[in-house]
């Protein structure tokens, strides 16, 4: 519907702009042709020849376009030549005028925008299957789009910066990612992006403007009450408003997420590397534990949003904190061992107690300052554990060279969090299971080595799978009157004595029952949600199994199901189950 409205607008603009040039050409042509017909031609066989309408039109066609095929059907008389001169000048000028109008029309920004919108909604209409709307193609948006493309999930991108949309169009994604340069908080654009479609699963608003994010979220909720809304927020008052718009709403706060990650890493040494490995961070060594010191003084430089969140997380772990910030902090702030007023320098670092400190968090919003604090702190206390904030993706090389223990990039943290929400929502209960109890550290190590053995050096694939009619047609049909073990589904259909490179981490059955690391004797049910980690090949073979009745029969029974009527008859006659 939206596309049709746009097209009529485009046609209207074109017609309106072309009205005068077309009129001018028609008048000039008709006058010229009339003149050519009336001009007496040469005398042949005692008769004065006149041009026919057809010949006059033919003559005008090549004259007006400056082609010039000559004088037909007879060499002209001087009277005709005189009129031909008049025709030539007038018509050529008129053509130039018309062509100029067309060029002006093409350059008209309104037309360009209307055409782009039309093109965009066409592309959106062509998307088949589930897709996601991303509003804002900044650092977070582009990391997210890359992640979605790797997971073969289509996204529609809207950004209010034309340069960003041009950048999007130059990327090589594995799936179509249509982009529109527009204000995403305008409902019309959201509708063009397909928000009302049933297969639009979620809207992610990650523009740099908090107010815009809120507006987009609210609009999205009104336009599609069932849609999952995911947004980034760093301001608490917005979060309250957002939480009350109803439906499924996720508010991603990169600082809170990271502070949590830090706290979990203190609790369990393998958590950080496992988490990073699962989200596909390439340089992660799974066997290498990262253990932020869990005893002693931490210095927090910069008490902004990140500083506050990290302080809260550290205090919860029973750690002492010292703060350095140019702004005085509220006297109500609890558990502050030491507060130093001023910019972070060697002097203030010493005042905060850098010599005895075990860890330092540099969380200012200035990348240059963060790196220099890191270097200063290391020069005084070389063994200190460093957590550093990297604000801009462009400074990647500098932060990599600085070799901090943990680098926190807000846009990346947010993008990964959103990615997991969309792709692997069951990862949260999975980690919760291990973190709720310190004693489960050994169990977690076992899982890590198991997963590692499965995936090897390949890139791990983390994916959710819902047992539904559309995903697993054959399996759901069999489940109607039979039971199927999860372990059988994870056998290699090519050789059922081996298992696939796929580990089922979590099964969610119904709304309540969540099984962490389900055993191979778990009986799957329709509408179960599974979270897998493994290799791409393993997952593809699994998909083949659950959609092919012969393969499914083979992995379950070890026998081969007879395929043809003849073999079915033979097997029945022999009284066997299969071949």
């Amino acid at each position: 519907m939206a596309a049709a409205v746009d097209l009529s607008r485009v046609i209207f603009i074109v017609l309106r702009e072309m009205r005068k040039p077309i009129l001018a050409i028609v008048i000039v042509y008709s006058l010229s042709i009339a003149g050519m017909i009336l001009m007496p031609g040469p005398v042949v066989d005692g008769k004065t020849q006149y041009l026919s309408i057809f010949h006059a039109f033919y003559f005008m066609t090549y004259t007006a376009t400056t082609t010039g095929f000559g004088e037909i059907p007879f060499p002209y008389s001087n009277a005709q030549r005189f009129w031909a001169i008049v025709c030539l000048y007038i018509s050529v000028i008129t053509w130039f005028y018309a062509i100029g109008s067309i060029i002006r029309l093409v350059q008209n920004p309104f037309l360009a925008k209307a055409l782009a919108e039309h093109d965009f909604s066409n592309k959106v209409a062509r998307i088949s299957g589930d897709f996601i709307i991303i509003c804002g193609f900044g650092d977070t948006g582009s990391v997210l789009a890359r992640g979605l493309s790797d997971a073969r999930l289509t996204a529609v991108v809207i950004d209010s910066n034309e340069e960003r949309i041009k950048a999007l169009q130059l990327r090589d994604y594995k799936v179509p990612m249509p982009g529109l340069f527009a204000d995403a908080s305008v409902p019309k654009h959201l509708i063009e992006a397909g928000i009302r479609r049933a297969d639009c699963k979620a809207i992610v608003s990650v523009t740099s403007n908090e107010e815009t994010n809120l507006k987009i979220s609210a609009m999205a909720r009104i336009l599609n009450p069932g849609i999952e809304v995911i947004t980034k927020s760093k301001v608490e008052i917005w979060e309250e408003t957002l939480a009350t718009i109803g439906g499924k709403v996720h508010i991603i706060d990169p600082f809170k997420t990271y502070a949590q990650l830090l706290a979990f890493s203190i609790e369990q040494r393998y958590f950080y590397s496992f988490n990073n490995w699962l989200v596909g961070e390439k340089s992660t060594e799974l066997e290498q534990p990262l253990s932020p010191p869990d005893n002693g003084l931490w210095i927090i430089c910069g008490f902004g949003r990140m500083g506050q969140e990290i302080k809260r997380a550290l205090n919860k772990q029973g750690l002492k904190t010292a703060i350095i910030d140019p702004q005085p902090i509220s006297p109500d702030e609890e558990d502050v061992e030491n507060f130093v007023l001023g910019l972070t320098t060697v002097r203030t670092l010493k005042l905060a107690g850098i010599e005895q400190a075990v860890g330092i968090v540099t969380g200012t919003d200035d990348d240059g300052q963060n790196v220099s604090i890191l270097l200063n702190a290391r020069s005084i206390n070389p063994n200190i554990f460093t957590v550093v904030r990297q604000n801009s993706h462009e400074n990647f090389a500098a932060f990599q060279a600085a070799k901090a223990d943990m680098v926190m990039q807000p846009s990346l943290v947010a993008a990964r969090r959103i990615m997991l929400l969309l792709k692997a929502p069951l990862l949260k209960p999975f980690f919760k299971y291990f973190l709720v109890n310190q004693d489960r550290a050994d169990e977690m190590n076992k899982v890590i080595s198991w997963v590692k053995a499965c995936v090897g050096d390949k890139v791990p694939l983390l994916t959710s799978f819902d047992i539904t009619q559309s995903n697993a047609k054959v399996l759901t049909r069999i489940l109607e009157n039979d039971s199927v073990q999860l372990g059988d589904l994870l056998k290699d259909p090519r050789d059922r004595t081996k298992s696939l490179d796929l580990v089922a981490l979590v099964v969610k059955s119904g709304d309540e029952n969540i099984f962490i690391l389900p055993g191979s004797d778990y009986l799957v049910k329709e509408n179960d949600q599974l979270l897998f980690c493994g290799t791409d090949l393993g997952y593809r073979l699994f998909l083949a199994t659950v959609n092919n009745e012969y393969k499914l029969y083979h992995v379950r029974t070890g026998l081969r199901q007879p395929r043809s009527f003849f073999m079915q008859w033979y097997v029945r006659k022999m009284g066997r189950e299969g071949l």
Binding site: N548, S564, F566
Partner: protein, 127 residues
């Protein structure tokens, strides 16, 4: 080992080899093309088709289709032979023979496609 695959593989390869034997020789020379060989080709092809009925997999469907193509070509060839020899009594003139061999050549191509699909499928699943 999969018994069903052995049986089907046997028939489809036999259909191809017999057909090749019939096809071989000068195209319009009736002395080079044996009627009993054509009979055997038709029978074995029908068997192969029958063995594919009932398979609900994708590859099974394609194999059934190629078999049916071969059957169709061979049936037309047999019909033409019978008409020429027994009904119109034109006899096996070179142009009649050439048409019959051309039809069996088409069926041979369908047999080759079947065998290629069978081999490719087996290699893919490495059973």
């Amino acid at each position: 080992m999969n018994l069903e695959k052995v049986i089907f593989g046997f028939f489809i390869v036999l259909a191809m080899t017999l057909n090749f034997g019939f096809f071989l020789g000068e195209m319009d020379n009736p002395a080079h093309h044996n009627v009993y060989e054509l009979f055997a080709v038709v029978v074995v092809n029908f068997m192969a088709t029958g063995l594919k009925l009932g398979d609900r997999s994708q590859v099974g469907a394609v194999l059934l289709a190629t078999s049916l193509v071969a059957d169709l070509q061979l049936v037309v060839a047999v019909f033409y032979w019978t008409t020429a020899v027994h009904i119109t009594t034109v006899g096996l003139t070179p142009d009649v023979m050439a048409s019959i061999v051309a039809l069996s050549g088409g069926a041979l191509l369908a047999n080759v496609v079947s065998v290629v699909i069978l081999v490719a499928d087996t290699l893919m699943s490495r059973l």
